[in-house]
């Protein structure tokens, strides 16, 4: 497979490759941030969370061996995020001294993904697939798709803008959509 997958990024991270770390950070930081928001963390706690998750992940990389047959990376990463959130909540409760500490679990949270977690993961895959498609497909086709299907401009207007027929716009949108679905599927399985 030519494009960047979780596996190839993780391998780069494990090697200590700086670009892979940067890519990892940029790819996953919104997911961490959104989960912190779900738990009502303030900005300072959100920053701590992002830094704690990256550190926990970095530490785990020393011993972690990526094997998709033993579990999905998304589940593993979700557990890291959740447990770092719980650690922050425990620190907060301890500091305030007036909340029942039993409310915050101390064991690894292996419950299935919530709807929000799953939707954000799918959006992250889609975003990654879109980058791949931008790099590999005809730029007019990608532009037609983005204008029509993501920015929701009228196909007629897009056709005029790109100097092509309406039929071409529809064909371009379909071609890009099909490829996006293929890439999302591959990324999801990688």
């Amino acid at each position: 497979m030519a494009f960047v997958t979780h596996r190839s990024i993780l391998e780069g991270v494990k090697r200590g490759d700086e670009m892979s770390w940067e890519r990892f950070y940029r790819m996953y930081r919104p997911l961490v941030w959104l989960r912190g928001s779900d738990f009502g963390l303030n900005e300072s706690e959100q920053c701590d969370l992002l830094s704690d998750v990256m550190k926990a992940f970095f530490d785990a990389q020393k011993t972690f061996v990526y094997d998709s047959s033993k579990g999905r990376f998304r589940d593993y990463f979700r557990e890291i995020i959740r447990n770092q959130i719980y650690a922050i909540l425990r620190r907060r409760q301890k500091a305030s001294g007036n909340v029942d500490l039993d409310e915050v679990p101390e064991v690894m949270d292996e419950r299935p993904a919530t709807v929000a977690e799953e939707e954000d993961w799918q959006a992250m895959l889609f975003r990654q697939a879109l980058e791949e498609v931008k790099n590999t497909m005809d730029s007019r086709q990608v532009q037609a798709f983005i204008l029509c299907r993501l920015q929701q401009q009228r196909p007629n207007d897009v056709a005029k803008l790109l100097g092509v027929s309406q039929a071409t716009v529809y064909n371009d949108c379909k071609a890009v959509f099909v490829r996006l679905q293929e890439v999302v599927k591959e990324l999801d399985q990688a």
């Binding site: 919104p30 920053c47 939707e119 959006a123 993501l150 009228r154 309406q166 529809y170 379909k174 959509f177």
Partner: protein, 78 residues
Amino acid sequence: MMHISDMDLERYLDGVLGKVASFMLERHVNGCAECRARMENVRSERAYLASMRAGLKRLEDADEDVERSSIGRSMSGN
């Protein structure tokens, strides 16, 4: 039996097919299980894309929040 093309299904859902053509399409789809199934498929693709648009917006907003936060500023060296 002639079926509706994918493009006309898309144009119908985009509201650019025209009144007469839309009426003919609806009549055909009502009586044709195959085209009805294809119409449903196009609708579900649209629903998926709507969900992705919302998801991309959430990710972009979160990225902006990170960039504006102290950790984002320190990562960018500001």
